[in-house]
Symmetry: C2
Amino acid sequence: MNCCEKQEYAIDNEQLARFAKAMGHPARIAILSFLANLDSCYFGDINNELPIAKATVSQHLKELKESGLITGTIEVPKVKYCIHRENWAKAQVYFNTFFASLKEKDLCCD
Amino acid sequence: MNCCEKQEYAIDNEQLARFAKAMGHPARIAILSFLANLDSCYFGDINNELPIAKATVSQHLKELKESGLITGTIEVPKVKYCIHRENWAKAQVYFNTFFASLKEKDLCCD
DNA sequence: TTCGTTGTTCGCAAAATTACGAACAATATT
DNA sequence: AATATTGTTCGTAATTTTGCGAACAACGAA
């Protein structure tokens, strides 16, 4: 899906869209909230928190990993998931910059 | 009210996911950027900006309207799209609150 | 009326997403 | 070796998303 790439904005917009897409499902928001707010980070605890099958949870975690928002590490016999703090901060800046770009006065709409 | 009460300003995770989902496509980010930054807001100008068919642009605009991030108004013979400033601000707060909820220290991951 | 302009909607196809159970892999324990 | 624990991957199905061209609707102008 390489439509809408424009040299001047391309990188930011594509990355912002990827972050947004990763956050675009209630289960993934719940997972991120869980990891951001609590003291547990093992698959089993995440899985217990959600009313969906573990295969599905695993899939959502995979997507979140691929978006860069979290990391996954094997800690035998468990798997530990953590917020990727650097990318989390990057996403925060991206979103905030995006929303802050709205002009106060718009010749067309105001 | 207890100052340390958790989630005093609760975020609706479903709503956050809806906003995120709406932003989860490069074309829709491009449309929102265009509307947020420029002085034009007519379908034709948005359509010219994107390398996709007008039917597809119309569809993306419909999704953005349904998410609440923009409004659409007929101004015969054109259609004017504008950022929905109130919901835009709401989305900004939602995202920012969400990202800010990350704890400094995590007993599990640090 | 007929034409041109502006966008939406329809119908379809291809691709991606979401979800699940079952099978599997890796390891530790009995 | 057999069993239990922890998650991932596979195979599949249902649904949603994305995208396009063509048809359509609403309007003003010739």
